[in-house]
Symmetry: C2
Subunit: 216 residues, 2 copies
């Protein structure tokens, strides 16, 4: 295979997976077929079989791609914030932005996938659970760092706070449809701000950036 | 039709719907077929068509039955608690009990159904959304009552608190699988207790019942 063909194949593979993540955020992973993906990218079904030998293999690759996307769109930009409590808040804020921008038509790949697979043991569920556990661990470690830096009170329970941030974060995916959309994001932000301020040594670290330049 | 046959028909209808709610909590509403339900109850498929003319008609009846079950298993027992902040806590506590007892094999009918249908407009989604909005309204009204009774601070935002109780309540359905099961319930209870105590005029109303008889 020439380098050109290899690069083209790689681009097709990435584009097909992006489409699959978007479709799965609406209809779930089981709704995706190689035939449908081939048609939407104008390639042959047999061409896609060169990348994924069966449906499960494709589903695993889609989970990996969704995780990569979450890293690029949520985690990486949040890591640009100063370490500690502001990074914790940035993780929530970037997540809200990811949902608000409608990066995925269904709002969240993992919110749909976990409800689809949580009762179905197997490699796909394991991969989805791995991704979610990794995210919870990242939240916990960010809490621990903020405690170690003296920005969150010593009695802060990292597992408790990570649970709450995940619960309050994912809830907007359904609530933004149930309620007037903007309110759900507002409630979710308020809930996490209240929680972080209650646990902060210096709650003013969480003031709006615009206030920083104002006279005190 | 004789009264006996009518009563038998009614019992079959209720039993089939209970099975359908349980199955849908695992596989979603779209996974349910009249053929499968007929087989599991030893009745003919055409017999079931007498109750529901098509799949959508069956799905609507299943949503109604799940709502009735939620009322009987969660709301009604919580209403036995004293009005005000203790009733609000009882709604969360009864919900936790409903999940912990595994009344439904998938944990929660609505948690699965809302992720399945939220991107699919139509009568079934409307019926699911109606049920969830009704539940949120019930939470809000219980908050308002607790404020009116002077048990929650005046500045309590009923919509905000209802959002948090729903988010923190439903989160255990997936978290009890992701984490060691017991921890998820513990985190969910702790989160709501912390929140209610922070907003309560007299937080001791939320002390464990066993403490009531202890010397102070």
């Amino acid at each position: 295979m020439t380098d050109g063909r290899k690069a083209r194949g790689e681009r097709t593979r990435a584009a097909v997976l992006d489409t699959a993540v978007a479709l799965a955020s609406v209809d779930g992973l089981d709704g995706i077929t190689l035939g449908q993906l081939a048609a939407s990218h104008g390639v042959s079904k047999s061409g896609l079989f060169a990348h994924w030998r069966d449906k499960e293999d494709l589903q695993l690759a889609v989970v990996d791609r969704a995780r990569e996307q979450w890293w690029n769109e949520v985690v990486r930009p949040a890591f640009a914030a100063p370490r500690g409590i502001r990074q914790l808040w940035a993780l929530h804020e970037q997540r809200m932005g990811f949902y608000e921008r409608r990066v995925l038509p269904g709002g969240c790949f993992f919110a749909t996938a976990v409800h689809e697979f949580d009762d179905h043991p197997g490699p796909v569920r394991d991969r989805i659970f791995d991704a979610l556990r990794h995210w919870l661990r990242l939240l916990r470690n960010t809490v621990k760092e903020a405690v170690a830096m003296g920005e969150l009170r010593d009695e802060t329970d990292p597992k408790q706070l990570a649970f709450e941030m995940q619960a309050i974060g994912v809830a907007v995916v359904t609530h933004s449809r149930l309620l007037a959309s903007a309110s759900a994001y507002q409630y979710s932000r308020q809930a996490i701000l209240d929680r972080l301020r209650a646990l902060a040594i210096d709650p003013s670290l969480l003031d709006e950036p615009k206030r920083n330049g104002e006279p005190t």
